[in-house]
């Protein structure tokens, strides 16, 4: 099951490539070995306990702007 809602990294253990993330207010363990690098404060998509992708803030903002434009225009 893919959860589309991103989680925020709250701690990173660089030696073990693991960390903790906040997912909708719940602390979850996350394995970070599938990302190049991960920093505290970044938003990631977690799948089966592994972070598989980072959320791109700029792109997220653009999509939201587009949605708002469409909603306003109609």
């Amino acid at each position: 099951m893919c959860l589309g809602i991103p989680s925020k990294i709250v701690s990173v253990d660089e030696i073990h490539q693991t960390g903790q993330a906040d997912h909708l207010g719940t602390r979850v363990m996350v394995n970070l070995a599938l990302l190049d690098e991960a920093r505290v404060g970044e938003w990631v998509i977690i799948h089966a306990g592994f972070a598989i992708s980072k959320l791109n803030d700029q792109e997220a903002k653009e999509t939201l702007d587009l949605l708002r434009q469409i909603a306003a225009h109609e």
Partner: protein
């Protein structure tokens, strides 16, 4: 809304007014695309859930866009011989712990389901959320064989492969993986080549694409001239992707659009792909309903054979005639029928008493129809 929420919260993606506005755009673009209707395959099981949960299927049908589910549920497309092998492991071998994602334990086979099987002495089933938990169990139970029944697409497989490699690295010899590893592009080719199901475009999976990248589907646009778009999991994401597909049809220029740029980078996730490539190699594999498809599965490379449960326990896999009579999951997965067209749907086969995997899995099409009462 605060800054964090703006990036993460689903709010605007589900907002009713936004959805209504997007639907009007869909309707307009649908007309511009010409023809009486258009049929789009959603490849990912989680998309199927979003589509039914928010009633998008009906709304889109009303504006001439038909959606058909594809082979995007790993629990569903894993053929029964692998499920049966998992059941045999835990019922015939003593002191074996079989770990699996929850859905996998409820799939009915000719010899029952994992969940309802009587485990051998000292053996049991453990439901896990992450493969990492199964490795932890192996560390804590050195006297037991721990087998992780790992099924998944490119999204899940890197996590499982990495866990298996970690077990070998750490010298944990009582750990192995019964693999049902699938890759998404080959079945799309198989479906298009068979030509049995009319498909005018594809909604590509969000998180598989986060790993493999948009270029993995280039052949669909180039060889088969079908448009497509990668979509996220919110209703607005799906509609944005459908708008892109309709625009491609209208322009006569099929491509692979990315409407989930906040998560899917133009190159996917090369780190995860390198993990896959280091540990696994392509193999021909049998999909439920679709049969054997060239290079559609992944197997452990020889260096990782010690973590391969198939080798470790001498399992014989690959037979194709183990489906339960009457279940038409295979046809559902190919987009040939919709679940209500199965004779058993809703009567013999319900979420409480599923007769096939498509009614078991949270990503299964039959469950999505049933749960949200979608008409055919």
């Amino acid at each position: 809304m605060n800054k964090k929420g703006a990036a993460a919260g689903p709010g605007p993606y589900r907002d009713k007014k936004t959805i209504a506005a997007l639907l009007r755009v869909v309707e307009e673009r649908r007309r511009a695309a010409g023809g009486p209707s258009c049929r789009i395959m959603e490849v990912c099981g989680t998309h199927t859930m979003t589509i039914h949960r928010y009633g998008l299927k009906k709304m889109l049908q009303d504006v001439g866009v038909g959606l058909v589910a594809g082979p995007g549920c790993p629990v569903c497309i894993t053929p029964n011989d692998i499920h049966e092998a998992a059941i045999r492991l835990v019922t015939e071998r003593e002191n074996l712990l079989l770990a699996a994602f929850g859905d996998m334990t409820r799939v009915p086979t000719k010899i029952g389901s994992l969940q309802k099987s009587a485990a051998a002495r000292g053996s049991r089933i453990q439901i896990v959320y992450s493969p990492a938990e199964s490795l932890e169990s192996a560390r804590r139970n050195p006297d037991k064989e721990v087998v992780f029944f790992g099924a998944g697409f490119e999204t899940t497989v890197p996590a499982i492969a990495l866990t298996a490699a970690k077990a070998l690295e750490d010298g944990i010899v009582n750990y192995s993986v019964l693999s049902a590893f699938w890759v998404i592009p080959p079945p799309l080719r198989a479906i298009l080549e068979s030509g049995r199901s009319r498909i005018d475009g594809f909604l590509y999976p969000g998180h598989v694409s986060a790993i493999i990248g948009p270029q993995a589907y280039d052949f669909v646009a180039e060889e088969f001239r079908r448009p497509g778009a990668i979509a996220g999991f919110e209703p607005a994401d799906i509609l944005l992707a459908i708008i892109s597909i309709l625009e491609q049809i209208a322009a006569g220029r099929p491509r692979v659009a990315n409407e989930y740029t906040r998560v899917v980078s133009p190159d996917g996730n090369p780190t995860a792909r390198a993990v896959l490539d280091r540990i696994l190699e392509p193999k021909d594999a049998v999909w439920r309903g679709l049969g054997r498809i060239s290079k559609s599965g992944l197997a452990f490379r020889p260096a990782f054979a010690a973590a391969d449960a198939e080798k470790k326990f001498g399992l014989k896999l690959g037979s194709t005639d183990t489906e339960l009579p009457g279940c038409r999951c295979g046809d559902v997965l190919k987009g040939l029928i919709e679940p209500p067209q199965c004779r058993l749907y809703g009567r013999v086969c319900t979420p409480e008493k599923p007769h096939g995997p498509c009614m078991v899995s949270f990503e299964g099409s039959c469950l999505a129809f049933h749960k949200y009462g979608t008409p055919s």
